[in-house]
Amino acid sequence: MAFQAPVDTYQGKIREVVVGKEGNQVAVGGETTLPFHFFEGEMPKKPIIAMEVYDVAPDNWSSVVLEPFKDVLNDPVAWAKKCQDEYGAEMISLRLISTDPNGENRDSAKAAETVKAVIEAVSIPICIYGSGNIEKDGELLKKVAEVAEGHKVILGPSQEDNYKQITAAAIGYKHNVSGLSPIDVNMAKQLNILMTQLGLDADHLVMDPSGAALGYGLEYVYSIMERLRLAALQQNDEMTQMPMFCDFGREVWKAKEAKTEDEPSWGDPEKRGILWEFMTAASMLIAGGDILVMRHPEAVKLTKKLIDELMG
């Protein structure tokens, strides 16, 4: 008798989250099975790639990943357009780094102007992250939500200590929220409970379980994502059924294996960095990532190819 591979069935379904303005909307999620297990269920939407754009020229990126953007680094609008038009980005991950109180501490209203310019310049959906500063993000994202009204963006990172303001802004202007939790299944779920209890529709939520790079905690994040997905599908746990947002590009390019340039024995620095990001992306896809936030256009290209092949 021929071998029959065991087939699992699942009770749960990942929610579909819609991002972008009317006419140019993209949906993620909707899985009824583990990633790419087409023999067990459906994966109606393919994972998408968001490319990072900073609102000020980054001062700590390696030259390998700066090179493709060297002509647009000081112009977030041109940078975003380049990602969309030349590099095939399916989403823009706009980071308002300038607002960090420990850095330039740019005024929220001024940062919101950048947001407005970028969303008007591109047609693909946008995800907007603050600097990660708890207090500033709360105030900043409220302004951002206001100027981005109608574009149904993803606002983040919403964390345990500022989720109230960010969630309220998202409810008010009909956006999505990305909830950031510190690599912990329970805390990811707790944040989802807290945000939905404020009245945010669970279909407007994605989970950011924290980013990690190959060799730097990747397996830790991987196992957390896997557990979240198993809880969602096997146990039908509603508060873990959100698509997952994987913010690893910046982690990858912090790794010395990706950014060191003067180590000939490690091989070509450009290829090495790109492959480091690609390998991390591949792992995130297998762990159940729905949105991948990446930097290098070549890594993006490889990852898109992999997604297409896996989707069949």
Partner: protein, 639 residues
């Protein structure tokens, strides 16, 4: 005898014991009445009208003769003496009367009466006193003095055990027998089949036979003076363990003991606290120091080591080995207790490094080690210890909860003594609290059961979210930014004993949630390790020195304990002290303690990979997985 009390216009009723306080009955019935003085009678806000039935009312100047004629009483000063119908006038409402959600009947458990557990043990104190009158020796009857005592004890008191005596007693025996004209009182320490004379006094002092039972807790030490002949408690005292100044938990105490002179200092601190407590017990009751025959102590393994001056060094380091877990009778003076030379002390045997004599004492006192029923024993203290089993098997684990339930690490926390707020209700509409204190006096702070109530009520009234964070958007003067972040004012300075606002701050709530999460996680792991579901557990004992009352709904509301049917639960109160008390009255329990300690299997939680996960998921109100709390879920949905 039970009485039925109906409250109007709420039309809610509750059944309570005769003599119960009317304000407490109102709390149990989930009826809102203004009450801010803790039951002291000074605020005069809890005016209610008795429409039918009888209460016994303490005198008050807060009511006019006319009002008294109209049936007005202060609920906090009224004891229920019959079935009652009570009307709450509008002015006694913290806000305007709004029909509240229908809550199931409250289950307030009282910790009074450890003596109910005594009945199942043979009453035979390990230390007994016998007055004997001997026939003086003559040439024809010249047996030695000791044998003469033995013979008289056997003849007059039917004592069959082999009797010998301490050398210290032998040294004065000959003199005292003759000086007292052969009429003496002999104090006997009996264990198994042997008996030892530990003291001989001239004349008849047999009536004066007292023991001190002591719970040597990490945070709190409780002591009771017991009349061994009459089987009554003469006085009871408690105080913080003075070692707290050297660290809040057992780990930091062990670290401290490793420092130069650390062990000596810790030992003298705990002995100092015990000596002060004994002095208080003695002066309160009028008993003489010399009439204290013995001390029975129960503490966790580390506390017992420190008390006796044994180094706990190897308990802290792998493979975590105590010096001993079994302690024989020792002279109390030898480890510094301020009693007479011939007063003996006994420490309850311990199980392992982190499950000690306090748990053994509690398990025995509760009767679970003789029960056929599958029983869960939970001791909520600085360490949360959990024991599961029955007469055939016992498995135990321990988790660090911190001192929050004993009032430690909480801004206005206090021990469960006079003035401690122990019961709280918060009005869902205007956030005004209704409080009752221990001893019904002006509030001085909050004890463990009060904190449990406070957290549950703040959660139910949406003052805090599921993470325990206070909602700053709530419109009430009681919610404000304090010294350490947001806080809720339970009692205003004018109502409090020390003229300071009594608050529950967000940081206090954090501590409390961490403590409850550790205990919940410990219970989950223990049950899973033996593949038992909560529904299989037939009886549950909750022990802890956090108050006199425990409200099961509130305990479950905050997710401290898993859900189970209320009928299964008994509140032991301070189980360690109950065990020590019974131990002073029954040598049977002391004998059995050794067997139980040996029988108990210790489960090391730190070796369990799931503990952290269970802990984090319990750091939420009531729990990240609300499905585990169907009753709480229903209550929240009803709102």
């Amino acid at each position: 005898m039970k009485h039925k009390v109906v409250f109007y216009p709420d039309n809610k009723q509750v059944e309570v014991e005769e003599g119960e306080n009317l304000l407490r009955a109102a709390m149990a019935a989930e009826v809102s009445i203004s009450a801010s003085c803790g039951g002291d009678g000074t605020c005069g806000k809890c005016r209610v009208i008795i429409e039918k039935g009888v209460v016994e009312q303490k005198p008050t100047s807060r009511l006019t003769t006319k009002e008294i004629e109209q049936g007005y009483v202060l609920a906090c000063l009224s004891e229920i003496k019959s079935d009652l119908e009570v009307r709450i006038p509008p002015e006694s409402r913290p806000g305007k009367f709004v029909e509240r959600e229908k809550l199931p009947e409250s289950h307030i458990l009282s910790a009074r009466g450890w003596k109910e557990y005594l009945s199942s043990w043979q009453r035979h104190p390990p230390i007994r006193k016998f007055y004997i009158e001997m026939v003086p020796p003559v040439l024809s009857d010249n047996m030695d003095d000791l044998r003469r005592i033995r013979r008289t004890l056997s003849k007059d008191h039917g004592l069959r055990a082999a009797v010998d005596a301490d050398l210290s007693v032998l040294k004065y025996m000959a003199r005292i027998l003759r000086e007292a004209d052969w009429r003496v009182t002999v104090t006997l320490l009996e264990s198994d089949l042997r008996a030892k004379i530990v003291k001989i006094e001239p004349g008849d002092t047999a009536k004066k036979n007292y023991a001190v039972a002591i719970d040597v807790g990490t945070t709190t030490i409780g002591a009771r003076l017991i009349d061994l002949n009459e089987c009554v408690v003469l006085s009871q005292e408690s105080d913080y363990n003075a070692q707290v100044s050297c660290g809040e938990d057992v780990i930091s105490r062990m670290v401290f003991s490793n420092k130069k002179d650390g062990l000596v200092k810790l030992q003298s601190l705990v002995v100092g606290t015990i000596n002060e407590l004994i002095a208080k017990l003695v002066s309160r009751s009028g008993v003489e120091f010399s009439d204290i025959s013995c001390l029975v102590l129960a503490g966790n393994t580390i506390m017992t080591h420190l008390l006796l001056g044994l180094t706990p060094k190897h308990i802290r380091e792998a493979p975590y080995v105590p010096t001993t877990t079994n302690f024989s009778w020792i002279k109390a003076k030898e480890f510094g207790i301020d009693v007479l030379e011939d007063t003996y002390a006994h420490c309850f045997p311990c199980v392992a490094s982190y499950v000690g004599g306090d748990i053994v004492a509690g398990v025995l006192a509760s009767g679970m080690s003789r029960s056929d029923k599958l029983t869960l024993y939970i001791d909520i203290g600085t360490n949360g210890e959990i024991v599961l089993g029955n007469a055939d098997w016992l498995v135990a684990c321990s988790c660090s909860a911190g001192p929050a339930f004993e009032g430690g690490g909480v801004k206005h926390g206090m021990r469960a003594t006079k003035g401690a707020i122990e019961q709280i209700r918060i009005d869902r509409n205007n956030y005004e609290p209704m409080i009752l204190t221990i001893g019904q006096s002006k509030p001085a702070g909050i004890c463990g059961s009060g904190l449990i109530d406070a957290l549950a009520e703040m959660f139910l009234s949406r003052i805090v979210d599921q993470r325990g964070k206070i909602n700053p958007g709530i419109d009430s003067p009681r919610i404000r930014e304090g010294e350490h972040g947001l806080e809720y004012v339970l009692a205003w300075a004018g109502e409090a004993v020390n003229g300071q606002d009594i608050v529950v701050a967000e940081v206090d709530i954090d501590n409390l949630i961490r403590a409850k999460a550790a205990i919940f996680a410990g219970i989950s792991i223990l049950l899973e390790s033996v593949n038992v579901d909560m529904s299989n557990v037939e009886e549950i004992f909750i022990a802890g020195a956090f108050g006199n009352y425990l409200e099961i709904e509130r305990v479950q509301m905050i997710g401290l304990l898993p859900e189970y049917s209320f009928e299964k639960v008994k509140f032991v109160g301070n189980g360690s002290l109950a065990g020590a008390s019974i131990g002073s009255l029954s040598k049977e329990i002391l004998n059995e303690a050794k067997k139980v300690a040996e029988k108990m299997t210790y489960l090391e939680l730190s070796a369990d990979v799931n503990f952290m996960d269970k802990y984090i998921s319990a750091l939420f109100l009531p729990h990240t997985n609300i499905e585990l709390f169907p009753m709480v879920m229903k209550k929240l949905e009803n709102k």
